[in-house]
């Protein structure tokens, strides 16, 4: 067998085993030893949890063993679940209208993560509560981005504020705020163009959009949501870090969890940057948005059937 083939065969095995790994650890080891911990490490790393947060979790486990909180391999899984759920637990109330009218949401993120689709889904969520919704086409750069948002507007019966391609996104945001107030709209959701967090000029543009909104409506944007693709690995840390500096991100929407990626990097983001996940995207349809529930997410990380 060549190197590629060997690797491929190994790969297949790891993937299959992953789902059963923890169970196997529990029955396979009479006591917690290095080998067991190494397999645990593998599970976490394979879910994109990252080296640093994985190390933290493993050292937590070692400490718990010393304190006799963990005595047998059976104790490991519940411990780790509890610990991870603690890390992910929301530190603020989930989105609600509050006293805001309009409630203003700004949606940001790198290219192609699912911002525009998420906006359609969020709009749908508020429409179903009988609220009036306005979407603002703040992506004036990407080809047909405005058309895409308009289709979503029709789908969910929401107004769309738009300028033309190439227009200043801050001007779109300004007009949207003015118009939402004038028309007494309940919820205003503002789309932005995808941008890599490393592009200084584009991040400056985003700051300007944020400033304009804050100036137009006191306390707005009430939520700035960073959209992250669950398939993304450790780069999501850098995205979260830099986007929060530019636009004061208040929560994360983790999309594409209907795939096979686990999105474990949000654990690192919550742990190190303290930004909570608010919503998850589980498909391309307008109803494929769910509130984030840490327990469920952790269960999925371990791919339990329960």
């Amino acid at each position: 067998m060549g190197f590629f083939d060997a690797l491929k065969a190994g790969m297949e095995k790891t993937r299959k085993n992953l789902t059963e790994n923890i169970e196997r650890l529990v029955v396979g080891y009479a006591q917690i030893d290095d080998e067991l911990l190494e397999e645990l490490e593998a599970i976490l790393l394979t879910a994109d949890v990252g080296v640093k947060t994985t190390e933290t979790l493993l050292s937590d486990i070692k400490a718990a063993i010393k304190k006799k909180e963990i005595e047998t391999p059976q104790d490991l899984k519940p411990y780790l679940r509890k610990r991870m759920t603690e890390i992910l637990a929301l530190n603020a109330a989930a989105i609600s209208q509050g006293g805001h009218k309009p409630l203003v949401l700004l949606v940001v993120g790198v290219n192609g993560v699912g911002k525009t689709t998420t906006i359609g889904k969020l709009g749908r969520y508020f429409r179903q509560q009988g609220k009036s919704v306005m979407l603002a086409a703040g992506d004036t750069f990407r080809a047909a981005a405005i058309d895409q948002l308009e289709i979503w507007g029709k789908r969910i019966d929401a107004d769309v504020m738009k300028h033309t391609e190439g227009a200043d996104p801050a001007a779109v945001a300004y007009d949207a705020c003015k118009s939402a107030v004038a028309r007494g709209v309940d919820v205003l959701i503002i789309d932005t163009a995808g941008r890599l967090h490393t592009k200084t000029n584009l991040m400056e543009e985003l700051k300007k959009v944020h400033r304009v909104i804050a100036k137009e409506i006191v306390g707005a944007p009430h939520e700035t949501l960073l959209v992250l693709d669950a398939t993304t690995g450790q780069n999501a840390m850098s995205q979260a870090n830099i986007f929060s500096q530019a636009a004061q991100v208040s929560g994360i929407v983790l999309t594409k969890l209907d795939g096979s990626a686990k999105g474990g990097v949000v654990l690192a983001i919550k742990h190190e940057l303290d930004i909570p996940v608010r919503w998850i995207g589980v498909g391309e349809g307008m109803d494929d948005l769910r509130p984030f529930i840490p327990e469920e997410f952790v269960a999925a990380l371990f791919a339990d059937k329960e």
Binding site: F4, K8, T46, G112, Q148, D229, T232, G233, N235, A261
Partner: protein
């Protein structure tokens, strides 16, 4: 950040060893721990990292290092050689058919950059005096057809569409006739983003392949992809047989470990790198540069000399 310091860390590790002449297994393990961390932080697949590190270790504690007077240098060189070997052998050539039209089909997960890359490829080929036809075979995503039409207009390249009521299989099939009628010698088919675990949509790709008989099926992959990259690439490769990979969004700060993982597991060559949103931001893929980027060692060869 971990990777920023990999070069320094390796230097430090080896400085302490300097003058000792020979490396023990422990010495090597310590150095390889840093390499392992850097690779994982770069999103190289866990299993690929494991195999890579154990392979390097095997070579490093073998004869060649034990007998070497400058063992540190040897280890760095082995790491780099192995990485370059894994990444290497790629070429950015497209299979151009001797009987036109050459058919290129772009596939991948949602939002990876397929439509944009279709535009970029068309642009590149047009500059090489080819006459591309863009084909809008994404009938699902809102405004996907319009998006391709806008790009076609910017490039002055025709876009074939039958609207969103025809099946992508029919669209792909008829696009070939259209290319012949319009004397276009390259057909670039933009398909809808899909999950590799979606049976129905993967079947649709197989049917498109059957009708359009592409000379190149290219998987478009986001450079920011994490551990899942391997599963995705294996699934697309297994079901379609890929001719190559295009890695997008490399203009950011992603280490791009997905490249190494995909190359290692599927053996598929990475043919191009997407370096921006604009239509001229497509470059040939350079394996050696990617190897340095993944390791976070800007100047690997310089390091080898200093070690």
């Amino acid at each position: 950040m971990v990777f920023e310091g990999l070069a320094d860390k390796l230097q430090d590790t080896f400085k302490r060893l300097r003058g000792r002449g020979k490396l023990s297994e422990t010495d090597v393990s310590e150095a390889l721990r840093e390499v392992r961390m850097a690779l994982l932080e770069a999103d190289v697949n866990f299993k690929v990292v494991k195999d890579f590190v154990s392979r390097v270790k095997e070579r490093a504690i073998g004869q060649e290092v034990m007998d070497s007077l400058t063992p540190g240098q040897q280890v760095v060189k082995i790491v780099y050689d192995e990485l370059a070997a894994l990444m290497g052998g790629t070429q950015s050539r497209l299979n151009i058919s001797s009987r036109p039209p050459t058919v290129i089909m772009l596939v991948g997960l949602q939002g990876a950059g397929k439509t944009t890359t279709a535009g970029k490829l068309a642009n590149l080929l047009q500059r090489q005096n080819k006459r591309p036809l863009l084909v809008a075979a994404d009938v699902y995503r809102p405004a996907a057809i319009k998006q391709l039409q806008v790009l076609g207009q910017q490039l002055d390249i025709p876009v074939f569409t039958l609207g969103d009521q025809e099946s992508p299989v029919t669209i792909a099939q008829k696009s070939i006739d259209q290319a012949n009628a319009l004397l276009r010698d390259v057909v670039i088919i933009d398909t809808a983003g899909r999950l590799h675990i979606n049976e129905e949509l993967m079947q649709e790709l197989r049917l498109i392949k059957g009708q359009a008989k592409p000379h190149e099926i290219l998987l478009v992959v986001d450079a920011m992809t994490g551990q899942d990259a391997v599963g995705v690439a294996e699934a697309f490769n297994g079901q379609l047989g890929l001719d190559g990979v295009i890695l997008t969004k490399l203009d950011g700060d992603a280490r791009g470990g997905a490249a190494l993982s995909i190359k290692a597991v599927t053996g598929c060559p990475i043919k191009f790198a997407g370096m921006g949103e604009k239509l001229d931001a497509l470059e040939p893929f350079y394996p050696d540069r990617m190897a340095s980027r993944i390791l976070g060692m800007g100047d690997v060869l310089g390091l080898i000399e200093k070690a």
